[in-house]
């Protein structure tokens, strides 16, 4: 197959637009929730998302390990949860939007999470 016939279709304008939806030129500490993070974090995000349901919050309060059993999360991920290692959970791909729900059930307020995040730098 000749590449010549399609090369004209991939205009500079198109290539610039394609590049723009994948920010790359960011400081390292500004990680994005994108392909890599979302792939890495799906299990953890599912787990924390479940906490929008009152019965999941009750199970968390009653038996945190049994709550974690439901989501197929890894031993390392369990350890991050047990340790309330917020920056670790973030690096493992948990979004802040579901982390806030986890903050609710663990009784760790957002400013405390923020303090840990800042101190990680």
């Amino acid at each position: 197959m000749s590449t010549k016939s399609t090369a004209g279709e991939l205009t500079e304008d198109y290539l610039a637009r394609l590049a723009a939806v994948q920010p790359r030129d960011l400081p390292e500490d500004l990680d994005l929730f994108d392909e890599a993070t979302a792939t890495r974090g799906l299990r953890l995000n599912k787990a924390a998302y479940s906490l929008k349901h009152a019965e999941q919050r009750e199970l968390f309060a009653r038996d945190e390990e049994a709550w974690m059993d439901q989501f197929g999360i890894t031993d390392e991920e369990r350890e991050l949860m047990r340790d309330r290692d917020w920056i670790g959970l973030w690096r493992a791909g948990m979004t802040i939007y579901v982390m806030v729900k986890l903050s609710g059930v663990t009784g760790v307020p957002l400013p405390e999470i923020g303090k840990q995040m800042r101190e990680s730098g």
Partner: protein, 283 residues
């Protein structure tokens, strides 16, 4: 035919809900007056304007939508929108009244304009809608929603996100959808989110007031210029989570090129750059 009476850009944040729910005294204390005072001005202005409908462009925070199927644009076509439980129990507010017929019309018009939203017959709304809404909708402050709403959600969470220019064009398409609706309704469009905030990583809590104020100036005077900003630019200038300002840009797209704010306020406080901007449209 329906008309667009104005537009409102407003931050959204759980903190605004806590303050609102704590009552009038807290809203008007020294700490919160700089934000809730201007909100009262918007509320008074809307009380006079008496819009029949609100279209609210916002983003969900994984309270309705999840990563199994995350919609880029999602439009409500329901007559009622329950308040989401964000993980702490739902805020004790009645469900938002909707307007399914207007929602469906907007859906058809957007699709005709080559915007293809996820169409939602059921949708729970979270603080992306309801943290600023009481100040906009409870014109007389009795906890009853007055103005039926059509919610339009934008993905600002899972990259790739729709570009700022795309969101502005979405607003322009939404304008045509409203103007082509046969009922004689006055509509105000609300865009929520931002301004600067950073909730992840070592820069947690970073707020950038200079950029926020420049953003509001550009939004009023040069919205096309903002379309040239990339997400990367917005993230560097205002923080990772501040990209939700594209909701304001979509709102601005529903207004004429020349539109001047009737209320404008900015308050950098704690971990948020709070912004508020209300535009009247000359009849």
């Amino acid at each position: 035919m329906a008309r667009i009476l104005g537009g409102v850009g407003a931050s959204h944040a759980p903190s605004m809900e806590h303050v609102y729910d704590a009552g009038e005294e807290v809203r008007r204390n020294e700490e919160w007056e700089p934000l809730f005072g201007p909100f009262q001005e918007v509320s008074d202005w809307l009380g006079e304007l008496r819009p029949d409908r609100l279209v609210v462009i916002y983003n969900d925070h994984m309270d309705e939508f999840f990563l199994n199927a995350y919609p880029t644009f999602a439009l409500g076509v329901a007559d009622e929108y329950p308040i989401a439980d964000e993980g702490f129990g739902a805020r004790p507010l009645p469900p938002l009244p909707g307007d399914a017929a207007l929602g469906w019309h907007i859906a058809r018009s957007l699709v005709a304009d080559e915007f293809d939203p996820t169409i939602c017959q059921e949708l729970e709304v979270d603080h992306g809608v309801i943290s600023p809404l009481p100040m906009v909708d409870f014109a007389e402050g009795d906890g009853q929603w007055r103005i039926p709403v059509v919610p339009l959600a934008v993905n600002v969470i899972l990259h790739p996100l729709p570009t700022p220019r795309r969101c502005y064009k979405l607003g322009q398409a939404l304008r045509r959808a409203i103007l082509s609706y046969p009922e004689d309704l006055g509509v105000v469009v609300v865009g929520t989110g931002g301004l600067s905030h950073q909730l992840t990583g070592p820069r947690f809590g970073r707020v950038t007031p200079d950029w926020d104020q420049k953003f509001m100036r550009l939004l009023a005077d040069e919205p096309e210029t903002l379309c040239d900003y990339k997400h990367e630019d917005l993230i560097k200038l205002g923080g990772t989570e501040s990209v939700e300002v594209v909701n304001w840009l979509a709102m601005r797209g529903t207004l004429p090129p020349k539109a001047s704010p009737v209320v404008e306020a900015y308050y950098a406080h704690r971990i948020m750059g709070y912004g508020l901007q209300a535009f009247a449209v000359a009849e």
